[in-house]
Amino acid sequence: MSKILNSGGDEAEFAKPLYVPIKRRSFFMYAGATAGATALLLSGCDDDNVDPVTPAGTVSLGSGDVGVLNFAYALEQLEAAFYAKVKASPASDFSAAEKDYFSQVAAHEAIHRDFFKAAINRDAPGKIIQDLTPNFDSIDFTKRATVLSAARTFEDLGVQAYNGAGKYLKTAAYLVIAGQIVSVEARHAAYVRDLISNGSFADDSIIDPVTGLDKALEPVDVIAAAQGFIKEKLDATSVGK
């Protein structure tokens, strides 16, 4: 065992988690994740995948799977910052129950942000985008109605973002993670919508009444919609490519 661990190099680094005794409960997750971890390890060896040149002051989300992860990370940073502010100074007309629920939503979004940060730094060292600076000047945080309206925008946009970006992921394990997050975003969206108007969780304005489908947006369109809330200029043109 110690001999193996001391063999050095990337290969030993990659294999290290495999030598740690595994609890049965977590094992089945692990078996599923192996394929993804492997694919990423290999793609990490590919030096041809250079980020395109972007104008100065522009943050490129990057290409390939890492681009999709950075895209998600950018949105989660935005959502986490928004709810942190809602939680820190809630509108005076929020009920106690609403404050409680929004503090849970704030935790979920902060977790998503922190998770992507950890996963990108682990799987694609050096490829993570910078911390973004939110611009919430257009949002009145003192009123429940304006907070809910902004929350609806962020949550529906988040759902549409994951729905549209899933097809660009080449690593199955990342796709599953995206799926695990998007349904929680959809739950948030439904909750916020119902607070605005009970029964609007999946009304005809957001779900196509003929196909029964939620919306899906391409990464560039999501970033165009989110750009007004972020100070840095984001470039999503290579995401998934």
């Binding site: 997750m29 929680v184 999946a202 029964g212 899906a216």
Partner: protein, 270 residues
């Protein structure tokens, strides 16, 4: 990389680890070849495919099989809500409005899947009905079943995403369509849960509920799970509670788990 050592480690948690592979001899023959080639980079790839075969759902289902599986669940949901409306226990106003809206979506999903399966040259499943003897007479319990069906649907679609990677119908990504249904099911689930005075998201405690809800939130990866992609969520940042860690990620169910008699499989009219 010492593959034999890994298998030895696996055998400590899974006595049948070798039984899961095609045959002991075949495994070691292949391992030998891989080692001889000295292609270290290919070893993890080989290992991953080996484990996927051994621990996955057997052979990867075809796109038609995945769509028919989805259709089975959509038909089950559609028939359940039809029965719920017909039973007449849903209070007028917001509750009736919500159930009607959800039924409308399930019917739309059935039509969409039926059309898609036919377009791909497959034969859509038909005639799936909610088990009459399992249909609750009272509204409160009907909502419990609705929650079970919706949260199962969310987990079921999520579990098939990997099997739809790259699948197309003409220029339409079937994975994207599945995701667009998946998030609708999650919206339904959230609303039904709030109708029952539950959080719209799934707390860790739900995995310990009694049947019929409990099994919906258990499985090889229960909804109470707090480790994602080998990252302990509770230890991120300044730390998070196990409940927030569990609720911030929904979990998959495999086809076999969903079709088990303890879950949706037990709600289908034989």
């Amino acid at each position: 990389m010492n593959i034999f050592r890994i298998i030895e480690q696996l055998s400590e948690v899974d006595a049948d680890v070798l039984g899961r592979f095609d045959s002991r001899r075949a495994v070691f023959k292949t391992l030998g070849t891989t080692a001889k080639r000295g292609a270290l980079a290919s070893a993890p790839v080989f290992l991953a495919s080996l484990f996927q075969k051994a621990y996955g759902q057997g052979t990867k289902p075809t796109v038609i099989e995945v769509l028919n599986y989805a259709q089975t669940l959509e038909l089950l949901e559609e028939d359940f809500y039809k029965k719920m409306v017909a039973a007449g226990q849903v209070p007028a106003g917001a509750p009736k409005g919500a159930i009607d809206l959800i039924l409308k979506h399930e019917t739309a999903h059935v039509k969409l899947l039926d059309t898609t399966i036919r377009a791909l040259g497959g034969t859509p499943v038909t005639g799936v009905k909610f088990k009459t003897s399992a249909f609750p007479a009272d509204y409160t319990t009907q909502l419990v079943v609705a929650q079970a069906l919706e949260d199962t649907g969310v987990r079921a679609y999520k579990g098939q995403a990997g099997n739809l990677m790259g699948a197309m119908a003409g220029t339409t990504s079937l994975l994207q369509v599945a995701l667009q249904i998946h998030s609708v099911e999650a919206r339904h689930a959230a609303h039904i849960r709030t109708m029952r005075m539950q959080t719209p998201w799934i707390p860790a405690a739900d995995s310990a509920l009694a049947a019929p809800l409990g099994p919906v939130y258990t499985g090889a990866i229960p909804e109470s799970n707090t480790t994602q992609s080998n990252v302990d969520i509770t230890k991120l940042g300044a730390g998070y509670t196990a409940n927030d860690a569990a609720a911030s990620f929904d979990e998959i169910l495999t086809m076999a788990e969903v079709l088990d008699a303890s879950r949706a499989g037990g709600l289908v009219q034989p």
